[in-house]
Symmetry: D2
Subunit: 349 residues, 4 copies
């Protein structure tokens, strides 16, 4: 590939966890080059001063957001909710691609956005351009846009567990439960009491029970697949591990549906997907097996005693649940092979 074809990439909010993970993954991307990064808190400092792990590898100095836009073909934004809308508008005006790792463009309903995030849609036409960046479900639309709303972690792992069964009508759309367990990087870089080592270590609890902001986003995706409104019960838990989400999803089986039928549906749906790995019968997904990579492992079980379908999926919340998926979206937008730069073997230990 010639040098002028290399995609110049900018990361706004590079010193947060999602931003830093983007920088780590982009280093190994053969068709992209990290052109500029910004951080409000660390402007003028090298990324490797904030993260000494990056020393000698990512020593880029944080500039301003304007610098990043100027120097890049595609801008990734890893910003607190509400700060992406203006930036997206600017990028669109300048003909840059924009991939938002925040929530500003994820919900199509302004009412829901207002209910769960408290904000407004500043420019409705902009929201009309945004495509929800879950490639395994919306690949073709992603290829046509320059504005991607990159899904959150829970909102990737739950739909990937349920979609084939729902799509085929094998499960009841009512009564779905998603019991999720997340590593602590999902809560970000800022120290807090519940992520203080001695208080999280050797513990486990639920949080925002049936009240988490990702609920309407998961429902939006499932409703599209189902063709009618779907409501779910979503309970997240905070795990004492750095990375990874495990989603244990429960749904009532429709009469006559067997494990074989379900397995066939998942194989058909995901057979060509590089990043979704359907596990053998009897094996459960494990966050251990997807760490640091863009894979989402999916495993299927049927409780014949109660007529319950159980789908257990796992991904790395910072990769397939954030930065890796964002790069997957970039690859689609720029016409690259979707897996470019994302094929690492998960460490076995």
């Amino acid at each position: 590939m010639e040098n002028d074809r290399i995609i110049r990439v900018g990361v706004v909010g590079a010193t947060g966890y999602a931003g830093a993970e983007l920088c780590r993954l982009l280093y190994g991307h053969p068709a992209a080059r990290l052109a500029a990064i910004s951080s409000v808190s660390f402007e003028g400092q090298a990324l490797s001063d904030v993260y000494p792990a990056y020393l000698g590898m990512c020593d880029l100095v944080c500039e301003t957001q304007a610098d990043v836009v100027e120097k890049s073909d595609v801008i990734f934004a890893a910003l607190p909710h509400g700060l992406s809308q203006d930036l997206a508008e600017e990028c669109m005006e300048k003909g840059k691609a924009f991939i938002d790792l925040g929530a500003d463009f994820r919900l199509e309903s302004e009412a829901e956005y207002h209910e769960w995030y408290g904000g407004e849609f500043k420019d409705k036409s902009l929201h009309g351009q945004a495509v929800y960046g879950l490639p395994e479900l919306f690949r073709e639309k992603i290829k046509t846009t320059k504005l991607v709303a990159n899904p959150g972690c829970y909102t990737t792992v739950v739909p990937l567990a349920l979609v084939p069964a729902l799509e085929k009508g094998y499960i009841e759309a009512e009564g779905i439960i998603a019991d999720c367990k997340s590593g602590v990087t999902g809560a970000g870089r800022k120290p807090a009491q519940n992520s203080h080592f001695p208080e999280l270590n050797e513990g486990l609890s639920a949080y925002k029970v049936a009240n988490h902001r990702h609920t309407p986003e998961i429902e939006q995706t499932l409703s599209k697949i189902h063709g009618a409104p779907v409501k779910i019960t979503f309970v997240p838990h905070l795990l004492p591990v750095n990375r990874g989400i495990l989603a244990t999803c429960y749904a009532r089986l429709k009469p006559g549906v067997t494990e074989e039928m379900l397995r066939a549906a998942y194989e058909a749906r995901y057979g060509d997907e590089t990043f979704v790995r359907l596990l053998k019968p009897g094996r459960s997904a494990d966050i251990h097996n997807v760490k640091y990579t863009n894979f989402c492992d999916v495993s299927l079980f049927v409780d014949t005693r109660t007529g319950t379908f159980i789908a257990i999926s796992a991904l790395d919340n910072m990769v397939k649940g954030a930065a890796g998926q964002a790069i997957q979206n970039m690859n689609l937008i720029f016409g690259l092979d979707e897996t470019t730069g994302l094929l690492q073997v998960p460490p076995a230990f």
Copy 2:
């Protein structure tokens, strides 16, 4: 208390985790004295050679099972399944109390026992004497027996989460889901690949999905409370922490039932229970807060969007889920205050 009133306690299988935990807790019991311990694997060795943590505190040497029976008023058995029946018979004949931490006497139905454990009831009359030792539910019957089937860990944490709601008829008995997460001590002392540090650490997966032996035992308890057969979907997960179980239980609310009604039912049911702590609205149970103690924390939530009741409970699988509850049962049998020797403050970190 005079010396001749001190209960002489024996532990058979003292070098397994449940047995060792019994010894730890009994050390601080003011009305009991560890009289003898046995271990097939470590006969002739001091317990503190096997567990150096116990040095100077529990230096008792492992004897034979016969020695233990001879020297004790009450025998705790922490044995692999199937080995307790003969021992129980011997204890009954000699007029000793017997508290079984294994599964041999837990299931009342021999057919279920055969289905899930593969064994037979050697002496049916003995099984008729056994009382299921979950004191918060069956206290009065426990006081009348000398043969206690001490529940397992999951089989304590799930019923304590659900009983008040089920008892009041506030939830549907059909469709109950128990998504449980257990610390690794639940799998015992024997090293295995899935408890090898590098392969469990930073991981999380489910195991024995909808297929775990504790399922019929949980159902037996819930069915008694409900007055009709209850079947549940039970999925356990293996957590990278030493101790603790968190049970996230889901049930469909009956029409018209509110969070206030549920809370009132739980307060009424557990208000006098020392070891069940009902948490304030909005707070989730956390295994961090019950470690090393006999408490079971219970927290309640209602998902009004979907009509789902969510009860989250936590306990230490080695204490309230095994050795602590066994001592609670001993206290009941011997007419002591139920909490004797069991009132430690859980470490906050």
Copy 3:
């Protein structure tokens, strides 16, 4: 024991980790009663609101410092450095015992205190009354005072490893190295970047290399034992565990000294000490074996290839390194058996 003999205990700074640990341990003390607690940050709140683990066990509400002094026979202060001097003076005036878990009274040399902490001795006569509260070394003096400077964690674990060898003149006083590894509770309750779970977990680094404030305090103790100034090289490391310190101490052996001589010296010195456990040859101290208890395990090795003595000791930084030792000092001051309320079996897992 009659009620009027029960010691009324107050804890100033009860919501920090050392303060909270005091409350936990005092709950089980048969001759003391937690009479009042204070906290600047949480005044008016129950301790169990700050630490939900304590629910139903330590529900005392935080009052003012003045309330605590008023209601107590002995005041434990777990305060930031510099805040104990005025409080100590007030307690002495009112005839109360005062046990300071901070550093204000630990160093006998005001010059050293100024150099390492930046403060002054407000009332020199008060400093003259203070006794350094390391019972295994200074028991008799502690019994005579009402003002105890309770040692820090490193300053207990290092001297206990070295004193018998130094006292006997078996090692060179020059060139001693203490390579210490501490659990993160030693850094306190306040969240910080280096104790944020994802950045400490799966990591290990040194901090304040050859520059830690505990250096002069360790040297003060060793110099007293040696009868001449001792300087050491002290390097602490931060471990991804909650509790515990392991000190690996190195010293050059004097000619002709053998492992047997060393072992005999340690046995003689610590044979009657309940809280110091000398391990068998070949076994290393492990922080796993002292957690949640007041034990300090000591293990000895000789590297005959290089003529080096290696003493490895372990304790729980929150118990023998803080709250437990403070209670041990209280017991001494009030004429109780030194071990009262402190004899728990360390959990084996």
Copy 4:
């Protein structure tokens, strides 16, 4: 690069941790291809059956050792000690390169090999061909051989911490201490009591104190650099983390040596080394910052109070301490850029 230039790589002992790590890293190597793997225990099974993390990425089936030799240009052996000598001979005869991750060829002295490992040199001429594969010290010799003795983990991290100071004569060669802390993968894949999760987690202890087999290997390297025999005191500790070694090394400074002089020596020595990162003054190496990569971080301190030099180094024991360094050696042997396939950014969390 044309297909016929791709190096065909074989791994003998592929299902142990070092072997599996080789497979993971080789997947991303642009000039090498994993041609065949073998495993005595798992012959006929896919690597991804043993390590589900590798599913879809490393599904190669384990063959026999003979198959591996036949199909490969270079053979990596990750075998128990003593099993490499015959294999090395076979490879040399067939003109294949051989890189041994075991200890058979590391010690040049047969007497030392016999003393520490109990074996003999079967073919002394073979040992004469072997080059010790620590590229930063012996790069030029490695380029000339086809038989590499790849160093162990401790034996890489300690010399890299000390060599520049020793080489310049800035430290005394006598009295060097290496206090090392290792993640548990260093002990291999086989479950054992001391790596059983509940007994390692939240613990820390030393093992093989002043008695570890890596001692003579470290001394061999330091002696070569020093030009005279060097003996050290080496104490390893087992950390409750998966990966990484931190070495805290102590040496007496020669008179007049300053931190600036030391720093200049290290900068000169390592300025051109990609994989050795010298940290800024005041920053300690942290195993967190090198995980999953081939970097060795080195940090320097001087304790002017005692005249002690403190060098703290960190690496990933499975990468720079095993598989990564082995690939670095392969690159040198085959005339590739030494860093090929090894430039990953360490994850920051």
